[in-house]
């Protein structure tokens, strides 16, 4: 496993910071969206798109590319920021996000946003769809990997565990799931709404290799994604412990920021906290 250079770590941290800024600006401009879960996933998305995924923005349909499914499709803002900054389309296309003629939808649509491998939105589908992609890779003897980013709340859905069992049955070591485990969902704390613990044991009991990381530590996230490529005979899940609304003090850990847009004043304060603008 290669170690990330200090420069690469700095670069990924800076990308994550920018993705937070992008997400909040998109959501503010549109007047709608899901800031909490976009901010919690910023480092994970930054590491995926700027370190782990083997992709070619000039050829988004490249057959051997790694696949990524944003199963928590409501975090579309952070994905759109990453795809634009990775070169799939101009960032300015998000200026009209929410307008009827904007190609980019509230939740990712594989026909409308270049670089989106699978349409998502309603929760729970990512792992099962990922199983199909991973099986296809194996049958075609292609080397691409399939990555799925899950919200913790969607791990309450039965369909998720159907996919988890299926991935283990077929020993899909080319499939990696990451859980953005921020412990906050729409109605309140995940551990109160419907407890998931013991989460690691559940995945392990279903036949998955389990890793735990601080989901805001780009070095840890990158290392464990790399490590998963060396796990053979079983899929890997990364429980990435995160903070919902990370980086903006008044959003952190609050379920009320699951699905509302910041006001102009709130955006300004958030951009100060994120180091994007200075006071005054």
């Amino acid at each position: 496993m290669k170690t990330l250079s200090p420069e690469k770590i700095n670069e990924l941290e800076e990308i994550a910071r920018r993705l937070r800024v992008d997400s909040l600006r998109f959501i503010h401009r549109r007047g709608a969206g899901h800031p909490g879960g976009a901010l919690s996933a910023a480092e994970i998305i930054a590491v995926l798109y700027f370190h782990a995924l083997l992709i070619d923005p000039s050829n988004p349909d490249w057959e051997e590319r790694d696949r990524f499914i944003l199963s928590k499709g409501h975090a579309s803002a952070v994905l759109y920021g990453a795809l634009a900054r990775r070169g799939f389309f101009p960032l300015s296309e998000l200026d009209c996000w929410g307008e009827l003629d904007c190609p980019h939808q509230g939740h990712p649509d594989r026909f409308k946003t270049p670089g989106v491998d699978m349409t998502s939105g309603l929760l729970g589908h990512g792992v099962a769809v990922g199983v199909g992609l991973a099986l296809a890779a194996r049958m075609k003897q292609q080397s691409y990997r399939t990555y799925v980013l899950l919200g913790d709340g969607e791990c309450q859905a039965g369909i998720l565990w159907e996919g988890v069992m299926t991935a283990a049955k077929f020993h899909l070591s080319n499939l990696t799931a990451i859980v953005d485990y921020n412990d906050v969902q729409l109605d309140g704390p995940v551990h109160e709404i419907m407890p998931l613990e013991p989460m690691a044991n559940k995945w392990a009991a279903c036949g998955w290799h389990v890793e735990k990381v601080n989901g805001h530590n780009v070095r840890q996230v990158a290392e464990v994604l790399d490590l998963a490529t060396n796990i053979h005979d079983q899929p890997t899940v990364i429980l990435a412990y995160t903070t919902k609304g990370k980086g903006v003090s008044f959003m952190e850990n609050l379920n009320t920021w699951h699905g509302i847009a910041p006001s102009t004043g709130q955006l300004e304060q958030a951009l100060v906290e994120l180091g994007e603008v200075t006071h005054g």
Binding site: R67, A128, G132, E162
Partner: protein
């Protein structure tokens, strides 16, 4: 009765098509011995996936296989596929436009021994309402087999409704099967019987009975409920002035509803619907008697024809 059950003809045809098209993969949910996808599984074990009793998961896995370049046929019971897996079908097949074929077996009341939980009498309503879905209902075993390569070569989602049982054979190769095009099986001027699936064969016999009463009934087979062949229907409405629909399905949302929608907009014409009248159906000892008890008898078709003729003459 036909020589073999519709599911047997389908299972054999899927295996034969799988030999020709190496992109075909089949999935099942612990029902391969019932749907007879096990014929494909035995021939191509490396292209067959048993997902266990998890229809929603099977649909999602199939969507992923389609994204990965394969041509998946998912197999299971119509009752569960069209209800429990409906959201997966809507989101991951129709909206995401993945090229997945849904082979929905044990449809209608054909699983007569198992009762209302196992009957699929609203599946056509559920699936017909989904944007982007094609809905096909074969009339007999040979037609079911003939459809397999046609829907395989068609680029897009298809719901393919298969009976567990034998149906009365219709055995017609002419006119040829074409998605979205109804077939005229018998000419007639007094009224038109429009049937789908197992009711096509029953309507053949009903038309004979009507002829013996001096009533000249046209018979159209609508194997495709979506896209719906409005042109053929409206022509029949204009030329015969009275119609009867017949389907092994609820009268809500299926063939009769599709006809009522098209007629109301295009050529308001008296219509009588033969189907299951918004109720759950009992367990039976044999399918013929159960269908009769469900309001699907040949007598019901004849009676509906007489009623609609009386309305036409007013």
């Amino acid at each position: 009765m036909a020589e073999i059950a519709m599911r047997a003809a389908y299972g054999q045809a899927l295996a034969e098509y799988g030999a020709l098209n190496l992109q075909v993969v089949a999935l099942d949910v612990d029902t391969s011995a019932s749907t007879l996808s096990n014929i494909f599984a035995r021939r191509f074990p490396e292209r067959f996936f048993n997902i266990g009793i998890a229809e929603p998961c099977m649909v999602d896995v199939a969507a992923g296989l389609a994204l990965g370049g394969f041509l998946p046929f998912v197999n299971g019971f119509a009752s569960i596929l069209s209800l429990r897996a409906l959201e997966q079908i809507r989101t991951c097949i129709c909206y995401a436009r993945t090229n997945v074929k849904i082979a929905a077996s044990y449809a209608g009341v054909s699983d007569f021994k198992d009762g209302a939980t196992h009957y699929a009498i609203t599946d056509l309503a559920n699936l017909r309402a989904l944007p982007g879905m094609t809905v096909i209902v074969p009339a007999d075993a040979s037609e079911a087999a003939a459809w397999v390569p046609i829907i395989g070569e068609y680029d897009g989602p298809v719901y393919f409704r298969i009976s567990r049982a034998e149906t009365l054979p219709v055995h017609t190769a002419d006119p040829p099967l074409q998605i979205g095009k109804g077939r005229s099986l018998r000419s007639g001027r007094d009224l038109t019987l429009v049937a789908t699936g197992s009711m096509v064969g029953r309507c053949v016999l009903a038309a004979d009975q009507l002829a013996s009463q001096g009533i000249d009934a046209r018979l159209l087979e609508f194997h495709t409920l979506k896209p719906f062949d409005k042109e053929l229907l409206l022509q029949a409405a204009e030329e015969t002035g009275a119609l009867v629909s017949a389907e092994e399905h609820s009268i809500i949302g299926g063939l009769g509803s599709a006809m009522a929608e098209a007629l109301a907009e295009g050529c308001p014409t008296p219509l009588e619907r033969v189907g299951i009248r918004d109720r759950f159906c009992p367990t039976g000892r044999d399918l013929d008697k159960l269908m009769d008890a469900c309001g699907l008898s040949i007598m019901e078709v004849v009676a509906a024809a007489q009623r609609v003729l009386a309305r036409k003459k007013k």
